[in-house]
C-alpha cells in the first residue's frame, strides 16, 4: 500500500507498507533424487574411509551433504529464508 500526503504545497510525505507471506516448498528436487541414488553406495562400510578428490573421506562428504541439506531446507513448508513479512518505508521532503 502506498500513501502520498501533500501536507503543504512544498511538503510531501510518501509512505509504503507491505505485508506479505512466503513459503518455500519442493526445494532441491533434483538434488534429493540424485542423493537418494548414491547415498546407499556411499554408506557401505568399505567406502567410509575412501578419500575423495576434495581430500575428505566419504563419511565426511556424507555429513557435509546432510548438513547442507538441513541448512537449505530448514524452513521448507514453513516459510522462506530471509523473507521479511512486514516492511515499511517513508520519505519526506
Amino acid at each position: 500500500m502506498n500513501l502520498t500526503a501533500n501536507l503543504t504545497p512544498g511538503w510531501r510525505l510518501l509512505g509504503r507498507v507491505s505485508v506479505s507471506d512466503s513459503v518455500e516448498i519442493n526445494l532441491l528436487k533434483r538434488s534429493r533424487q540424485s542423493a537418494a541414488l548414491v547415498l546407499p553406495l556411499w554408506r557401505t562400510a568399505g567406502a567410509q574411509a575412501v578419500v575423495t578428490n576434495a581430500g575428505l573421506t566419504v563419511a565426511q562428504e556424507i555429513a557435509a551433504n546432510e548438513a547442507s541439506l538441513a541448512a537449505t531446507t530448514a524452513v521448507e513448508d514453513q516459510g522462506t529464508i530471509g523473507h521479511r513479512e512486514f516492511e515499511f518505508r517513508a520519505f519526506t521532503r
Binding site: 501533500n6 541448512a71 530471509g82 521479511r84 521532503r93
Partner: protein, 219 residues
Amino acid sequence: MFVGGGLSYGSSPVVGRSTAGSLFYAPVRREVDLLLGYRGRLPARLGQRPAEEQFNAANLLQQSPYTLLRRDPDGQNFRAVLNPPPTHSLSFRLSLGVEATAAEHLPGTTFADEECASRNQRAGEERLEDLVAVAVGIGVLLPDQRIRRHRLQRLEVLRAERREHHPFIGEVCGLPQAGRWGRRGGHTKGDWRSLGASGKRFPVRHRDAGSRLPFVGRL
C-alpha cells in the same frame, strides 16, 4: 530552507532452524536517512547567483555491521552481507547563468522520483572526511563512522560466499584478507583465494562494506 528524510523498517526474517527445531531470526532492520538544505543566493559582490547547500546523512542507525542471510542448524555458522556504512556528505551547488525553474524544485511525482531527486542533488559532492584540508580548514573533526561506537567488530570469517563483480568496468569488490577488507579495484583472484584458511578472525569494518559481499562467519 528545506529538510527531509527517509525511514525504513523490516520485520525479523527467519534465517534458519536449529537442530532442536526452533527457528532462528535475524534482527529487525531499521534505517534512517536525513537531509538538510538551504537554497538562496550568493552575496551581491559574488554576483547573487543562485546557490544551494545540502547536507545528507545516510544509514544513520547502523544497528548491525552485517545482515544475516542464513544460519546453519548448529547455530554457529551463518551467511551474511555487510551493511552499507553511515555516510555524511555536504554538497554545494552553484548556478552559472541558467536559473533553475520552479518545477525542478517541486517534489517528485512518485516514490522513486523522490529518492532519485535526493540522490541527484548530491551530484558533485565529496565526502568531507576524505578531504583532510577541509577538516583542517574549518577546525573541526567531521563525523566519521570509523570512530563511532560499533564501527569495528571482529568476526570469524570462514570464507567468502562468492565473488562479486561491480557493474563498473575493472572493479572487483574486495574480500577480507590479511586482517582487513580490501578496497575496490586492483584485486586479483589471489586475494580471495588467500581466504581459504578458516578460523582466522578478520575485522569487519563499516567503511569497507560497500561491496555487499556475502561471507560465511561464525558466532
